[in-house]
Amino acid sequence: MAKMKGAIVVDIEKCKGCEVCRVACPNDVIAIAQEVNHKGYHYAYQEHQENCVGCANCAVVCPDGVITVYKVKLSD
């Protein structure tokens, strides 16, 4: 079966760290960073990239639209 492999890019400076994406992710890919961005928010980042399937759930719920999603199909 073909496997999907995904990756997300978070616009860290625009992220407000609301964690809605972290809850929406079915594979626990996203975590909230200990560091803060320029505005002082703990931003979201891709902690377990290997689990990402590129479903785009995080980007769809992100209130600030800061997540871009990429996906490739792996043939085995």
Binding site: E19, A56, V61, D64, T68, V69, Y70, V72
Partner: protein, 260 residues
């Protein structure tokens, strides 16, 4: 596979629509306004009507909507967005006109304008964000505030005897013969965002077909006004708001849908 091999333009599956400007949204972290803005813009992008669309921004948190939505926008006085939209639509019947209003705007000061625009069957689309509170001014009680809900002007909870009943605007408007499509959605989870987007698309399509007023209510959170964290406020909304404001289509093609 290396992440650099995945992040390539040809593998792109989702990014913010170019119809949203690059400005940082002025809303609180986790606020449903941003998601609602984006799905309205995505629908306009999919329909290819950016240059044909005129939005009317209200007074409230979304008063600066014209900074974020990359379509022609007009600012209306508090509650008067449906009246302004009526004027625009009557001058340019071929344009797509929508208003984007909160519950303090649409259900309180703008009740008359909203009901009469719906009753006249004006061919406009109303996006109604309902978070049960006046978010911008500091979390005061709104007509849509739930029974027993604590706000800054009802610190012991809304008492129905002295403060009246919560107003179900969407049900009220669905009863009027001038409305064509009426739906209630939310944007707190991926599934609900996708459903809400379909509803907004249906609302714009019914405007395209000149069928009458279309309204999509989006039950949203106000984590700052409710004094909760964003995720907790979404959970609170599912638990408390949805039983009173059930999601789903209320009216499709001018016919009431029986959800119960």
């Amino acid at each position: 596979m290396d992440i650099k091999d995945i992040i390539k333009p040809e593998n792109l599956v989702y990014q913010k629509t170019p119809l949203m400007t690059d400005k940082t949204l002025s809303y609180c972290p986790g606020c449903g306004h941003g998601t609602a803005h984006r799905i309205v813009m995505e629908v306009i992008e999919e329909m290819g009507i950016q240059s044909e669309t005129i939005g009317v921004a209200p007074v409230g948190c979304s008063v600066l909507a014209y900074d974020f939505m990359n379509v022609d926008m007009v600012g209306a006085s508090h509650g008067r967005a449906p009246a302004v939209a009526t004027g625009i639509k009557r001058c340019w019947p071929e344009k797509f006109v929508y208003t984007y209003q909160g519950d303090g705007d649409l259900a309180a000061i703008g009740t008359a304008e909203t009901i009469h625009a719906a009753n006249r069957g004006e061919n406009i689309t109303i996006i109604f964000i309902n978070n049960g509170i006046y978010g911008m001014t500091g979390g005061q009680m709104a007509p849509t505030t739930l029974e027993g809900m604590k706000t800054s002007t009802s610190p012991y909870g809304r008492d129905l005897k002295s403060m009246g009943n919560p107003l179900k605007m969407t049900e009220l408007l669905a009863q009027l013969p001038g409305t064509c499509y009426v739906s209630r959605q939310s944007v707190h989870s991926p599934r609900n965002v996708r459903r809400a987007k379909k509803a907004i698309r249906a609302a714009f399509e019914s405007q395209k077909a000149n069928k009458g007023l279309s309204l999509v209510e989006i039950v949203s959170n106000c984590n700052s006004g409710w004094k909760m964290e964003p995720v907790a406020s979404n959970e609170w909304m599912v638990e408390h708001m949805f039983p009173f404001y059930p999601l789903g289509d209320l009216k499709v093609d001018g016919k009431l849908v029986n959800n119960q």
